[in-house]
Symmetry: D2
Subunit: 143 residues, 4 copies
């Protein structure tokens, strides 16, 4: 259940984006809410995909969908300090790939997220096109 | 990675709550957004905890925190149909327990969620008190 | 600045929808958050428009956009009690119309909302078609 | 209904904060959602209050609550461009004050927001203490 220690280091991630916290992220326990942290991981993933510019690499009519999301909560996060969301590609499979993320606040890793994305055509999983593989490779997690 | 088939049946869950979808749950792909589905699982968990009335069963100064959340997306969900969130206790451990959930729309299971909750005192994990165990047991997942 | 006293009565509104509160609606002040109340008013407006089925009444290529939103906060709202969102048409103008809403919890009006919607074609305000007027009229606020 | 033209200029506001848009701010119409814009105005107001450090200036047991919120939507906003939220104090009254805001994207004002805040003690409106007035004055809207 514990995350790989390598994942707790911002240097592990080839891509980083700053995500300022919002007051709306805070819940009645006065910390960053678990669900809103999932929103911030979503933001990190979308920005990573924009950076990889993988959209052009996908076939017309294809759709990449989230099959599974696993979030580990390692420490509380607070408002108003900014978050750093590190991200990278942790697996390139036959018809799916995985994104690994780490969330950092004040130099401390407060959680990790692993997302399985499935490439689909006409509603069924389909092989990742070579163009897409080519774009994912430079963003693989550093060993 | 596939969920246990038993989890795809609403009857598996000892507790059910109706959660109407909101327009705000819909994203640019015109389906229920992944993060908003996590919000709906949160709602199901909070309602389950209110039903179990476990709050009284926890010691003063204790705090139950989410350590891990795993969401599986099995089918798209849509607005404005209502969701049924089934939930139950899938594991009672030494200092943690797990909640298993299934989300249903129009009779179909659109996803499952597994949450690991850790019981803590003074910021460290602590044994689940017997009073809490007693309240969790009647809500265990049906075999 | 005070709302019309008639607006504080659920009977004033020709349309009503139940909106259960969610834990995610609660903020660090432990009441229903102002912005999340705006989300609930949005939900009431969308459900009212679905009930009026005005969509068919609008011309192809037209778009109805929100120009102004005014929310009055009259009392705190709380979780987990359900909200009742009353709504109706308070004005039918040349190229715009207004929706009046009231939000009720435990029999008490906790706020009102007034929304100005502008009918546009090709990005400019345009006259409301007669078909649309015909559908709005039965939902006018009761005097 | 139209906002004062002076309000469309970022220079009018003594305080400015950058708020990056999030994918979660986008709705099925593929623009920034009206309610999420309200969340961003909330963020601008909270950051303005943190900058004014008015919290110390308020009496123990007092509470400042939002009585009214008026949002004008002037143009669509989009993802992923950043927003600039300008804000200032537009009125200092006996027991209330008002915050005026403007939201800017790519050099264009996409909307304004006016918020009436009431100072309360023991659940009733109460005179603004002189310490609070002193802190609000330097943040008044530029004429």
């Amino acid at each position: 259940m514990k995350p790989d220690p390598a994942r707790l280091n911002l240097d592990a991630y080839p891509f980083t984006v700053e995500v300022p916290t919002r007051f709306a992220d805070v819940d009645p326990l006065r910390h960053l809410n678990n669900v809103r942290l999932a929103e911030i991981y979503e933001e990190g993933r979308v920005r990573l995909h924009l950076a990889m510019a993988v959209e052009g690499a996908r076939e017309k009519g294809s759709r990449t969908v989230i099959a599974q999301l696993t979030v580990r909560y390692l420490a509380e996060g607070f408002y108003p300090a900014t978050l750093l969301a590190g991200g990278g590609v942790s697996r390139i499979g036959g018809s799916s790939y995985e994104i690994a993320q780490g969330l950092f606040q004040d130099g401390r890793c407060i959680g990790t997220c692993d997302t399985v994305l499935v490439y689909t055509r006409e509603g069924r999983s389909a092989p990742l096109p070579e163009t897409l593989r080519t774009q994912l490779r430079p963003y693989q997690l550093r060993a």
